[in-house]
Amino acid sequence: MTDMPQTPETRTERRERERREAYYSASQWTLIWWRFRRHRAAMAASAILGLMIILGLFAEFFAPYGPTERNRDYLYGAPQMPMFCDQNGCSLRAFVHGTRTERDPVTLRSRTVPDPQTRRYVQFFVEGQPAKLLGVIPTRTRLFGLDEGRIHLWGTDELGRDVFSRTLYATRTSLSIGVLGVIISFVLALAIGGIAGYAGGLTDSAIQRVTEVVRVIPVIPLYMGLAAAMPREWSGLQVYFAMTVILGAVGWPTLARRVRSQLLSIRGEDYVTAARLAGARPSRIIGTHMLPSFTSFIIVDLVISFPYMILSETALSFVGLGLRPPAVSWGVMLQQAQSIRVIEQAPWLFIPALFVVVAVLAFTVIGDGLRDAADPYSEAR
């Protein structure tokens, strides 16, 4: 027996050892986070989505004008991009051109056109109309504005409302409706799928039948049927909550199937039997003992079901069965861009569509990344 001389570990060796120890002692969620972090597309998508959420949440600060504020002198106004140079030379501060009113030589109607001779400088942290940040903190400060007149980054609609500001407010509405819809469908799925998967037998087959019926009716027409039933005299807030309930009520079957199949597969495990013998009630067995084993899958399913909520809300509002003005959501805004004549005249009204596509893409990519990360058999570390 010869004593092996203990060579002091080098720095790289120590780092390697620490990395391994951290890996072996990491919790499930830490592991998922590590794997998720390496998914570049998903990280980028999270950043974009995070930005959207912040923009929507603090719309009162980022949007220069309120969602229903009108600029009567700039109807169907074109987007004004801040610039540093024009034919009169350059400036260190960004500016847009002012507008002036002139008569159309053909139709003789007065119209507003940009006036290249005047400059309106962009300023930051300007005073605007009073508003409530997050619905509570009173504020007048806006991120940006003009020293004189109004700036419309993405133009205005037929009533002269600022498309940029409205899009931010719409982002808040559309995303929050998605969140509430997903939560409601999640609770329903958990309850219904939970009962089916835990009870099994006749209860299960009965619930399966009903689930199948909800799934077989085409989704959007089903949404439309429920949305059409909303009384026309309901207030904006009532319609908003009714919409979340409708989205949740139609969205649960997919998730319920997942909950059910997972519960069925672990129903016979010893630790479930042990809990039952120990006298735990079904709700406790499901909630405390069974659910944690597939929480990660459920989270993935929740993220993946977001796009459907957002798309359904947009589609419903688009055809006039969902949210109604004065509420602003992406779908409500796109309603104005329905006819080809409007799109010809004011293509910038299409900008909210870009938000829809980006949000849906972001959720899909994040869902894919999460699914890979939550799968314990995907490549380790």
């Binding site: 959007i220 439309m224 009384p231 055809v319 069965l321 799109i343 010809e344 293509p347 596509v357 893409l361």
Partner: protein
């Protein structure tokens, strides 16, 4: 096989019964009932004052004062026994007259869309799997992501916009002007075929994206199987090998989800129809929901769902025919 058929048929009948109940519930949901809307429609602007007694009289005449289960029984027996979907108040005629030949237009649109979907999704998905990692493959992945993210009605709007901008042409509608009200003829049919591909592409858009992904994923799994390697070792030509072994299996998930595709297509139908100005059931469904003409809406919803259920059945049969394992299980 007979046991298999009978079980599927019984299951289908039960599903249809539950579906009809659900559709009836949706018809009953909006505030107010048929009698009120009918009276309002018939007498508004005529100067005749409608009293609650008049509405009650209409109700009794049409049997609307009966309890809900009786009304359901009347409604469904009318449909099943006489093919009668009731009256459409906003058109002041029967639902059957309103729907009329729009059913066939819708079915034609569905068939065109399904054909286009599978003609694109299956070959392209197979190709992407065989040439995995190539530029074409990545391009396809991006396109199918976009296919899932870009809602069909936005695609329709974009197509309208660019068609107008580049070609100065309107691509909406199912017929050219001269054929819109013309009786059916070969020329009108040909005109329909020429117009059909744009709505078919728009409606199939998300189904194509979804099936592309499925075919590509299954095919990628199947290509790595030992059976493929063994066949290759026996010296089978590559194309024949691909068609005989993995491609045959890669088509199965597509076949088993035909019903889902029909569901997806019908789901988009009302909104795409509104944007593209298609005069078929989807458009009518949207209008009748907006007018709360629930007899028309319920009839259309029921018809669409029946088509989906039947397509589910067809897909089960097709799958059993393609895949002996399912047939033997029964």
């Amino acid at each position: 096989m007979a046991v298999f058929l009978i079980r599927r048929l019984l299951g289908m009948a039960l599903t249809l019964l539950l579906v009809s109940l659900m559709v009836f519930l949706i018809m009953e949901l909006p505030p107010g009932d048929y009698a009120e809307r009918y009276a309002f429609r018939k007498f508004s602007g005529t100067g005749v004052a409608v009293t609650p007694a008049d509405i009650q009289a209409i109700r009794i005449e049409l049997g609307l004062d009966a309890p809900m289960m009786v009304r359901y029984a009347n409604w469904i027996s009318g449909i099943v026994l006489r093919g009668d979907f009731g009256q459409a108040y906003s058109f002041l005629t029967s639902v059957n007259n309103v729907i009329g030949d729009k059913v066939w237009l819708t079915l034609g649109l569905l068939v065109a869309t399904l054909l286009l979907t599978y003609l694109i999704a299956i070959p392209v998905g197979l190709y992407a799997a065989v040439r995995r990692g190539s530029g074409a493959d990545y391009g396809l992945t991006i396109i199918s992501y976009l296919g899932l993210a870009l809602p069909n009605f936005l695609l329709a709007l974009l197509l309208l916009y660019f068609a107008n901008r580049w070609f100065g042409a309107s691509i909406g509608g199912l017929f050219s002007d001269q054929y819109r009200d013309a009786p059916w003829s070969l020329a009108k049919f040909w005109d329909l075929v020429k117009h059909l591909w744009i709505p078919a592409l728009v409606l199939g858009w998300s189904a194509i994206a979804y099936q592309l992904q499925t075919v590509r994923a299954t095919m990628s799994d199947e290509i790595g199987k030992l059976s493929v390697m063994a066949a290759r070792a026996r010296g089978l030509p590559e194309t024949r090998l691909m068609v005989k072994y993995p491609a045959r299996l890669a088509v199965n998930p597509v076949v088993s989800t035909i019903g889902f595709d029909v569901n997806r297509i019908f789901s988009e139908l009302p909104i795409v129809a509104a944007v593209l100005g298609l005069t078929e059931l989807g458009d009518l469904l949207l209008k009748s929901f907006l007018d709360l003409d629930m007899n028309v809406a319920g009839a259309i919803l029921l018809l669409l769902t029946v088509v989906i259920v039947v397509m589910n059945f067809v897909s089960d049969l097709l799958l059993a025919w393609l895949d002996p394992r399912i047939r033997l299980e029964g």
